[in-house]
């Protein structure tokens, strides 16, 4: 048996949810992940490389650089790690269109505080302060489909059909250890 009983128990452990300093007024949906606290706050959208190094393209890298929000309340740089899609997708493409703007964001601060002194942001909505409507942070897969017109026609979620990922799997397997190791494992995994 590859996946042992202790491992299964650990995988099924449910983190405890908590209210945080920025939870008031948040309409964020809970994801049930470690250290999760709803967080609604305002701040300036920044390209983190620019913020740290002074290398600052005008468009914040157009989604090619990791993004953050410098929170108005305390000047903390909050790293936006995740968008609102449950599909292995980040936040950079969601925030880049708001480069340099002051926005109100809603989402969850996330992170096991035994592992990290700072939490990361899972962003769900963005609203420029001069706008009334919020923008949902869920466009990543739509952009992927535009960038991969052939792959998008294949049935299944993006991560199963992304050409770059599939090329690496074809080369070194799902485990990354070569096709022979993969074949032996897969035989046992699906027994």
């Amino acid at each position: 048996m590859i996946l042992r009983t202790a491992a299964i128990a650990a995988l099924l452990a449910t983190p405890v949810l908590a209210e945080g300093a920025f939870s008031e007024g948040s309409k964020a949906k809970g994801w049930g992940v470690a250290g999760e606290e709803k967080a609604l706050f305002t701040g300036k959208v920044v390209d983190i490389l620019c913020e740290l190094t002074g290398d600052c393209p005008a468009d914040c890298g157009a989604g090619d650089r990791q993004m953050g929000i410098v929170r108005d309340a305390d000047n903390v740089l909050v790293l936006a790690s995740k968008n609102s899609q449950p599909a292995f997708t980040g936040a950079a493409r969601e925030l880049a269109p708001f480069c340099g703007q002051t926005v109100e964001v809603d989402g969850n601060l996330v992170g096991d505080t035994d592992l990290t002194p700072a939490k990361f942001y899972q962003i769900q909505t963005i609203r420029p302060l001069d706008a009334e409507a919020v923008v949902k942070a869920n466009t990543w897969t739509k952009v992927w489909a535009q960038l991969n017109p052939e792959a998008k026609e294949v049935k299944g979620p993006w991560f199963r059909k992304d050409p770059k990922i599939n090329a690496l799997i074809a080369e070194s397997g799902y485990l990354g250890l070569g096709l022979e190791t993969d074949a032996e494992f897969i035989d046992e995994w699906f027994e």
Binding site: P15, E51, G90, F159, D162
Partner: protein, 126 residues
């Protein structure tokens, strides 16, 4: 500054969404790590002392598009040189050069299987 460690998927590592930290590293989590890197989730380097360095740039690649070299080094054990910035509790790493890449050293799939279990589709079985 030189950092040695395993290239990891930081969302799964810190959020616990797929399981405990040890289960979302190495060969057990290799496919998911590629998914997350390609999806633009920040990649990290997990050092032996448990410190995670958030990669903002990997040589010439800025990282958030996830499609280049940074995708091909997921789960590898590397030594990288570059600049380190600490801000508000997070260590940010700008990698200038990969001094060494030992490949995928953390072979933990016998302990954890694959995480998540659907990382390998049933269609992969001949």
């Amino acid at each position: 500054m030189t950092i040695s460690g395993e290239v990891i998927d930081t969302w799964c590592y810190f959020s616990g969404v797929m399981g405990p930290p040890d289960s979302v590293t190495g060969s057990a989590h290799h496919t998911c790590a590629m998914w997350c890197a390609a999806g633009g989730i920040p990649v990290g380097v997990l050092a032996e002392d448990g410190t995670v360095y958030m990669v903002m740039k990997w040589q010439d690649e800025t990282g958030a598009s996830g499609g280049g070299t940074i995708l091909s080094v997921q789960s590898d054990s590397v030594t990288a040189s570059g600049d380190l910035y600490e801000r508000d509790g997070i260590n940010y790493l700008v990698v200038a050069d990969v001094v060494d890449n030992s490949g995928l050293v953390n072979q933990n799939h016998d302990d954890w299987g694959v995480v998540p279990p659907y990382a390998i589709p049933k269609s992969a079985k001949p």
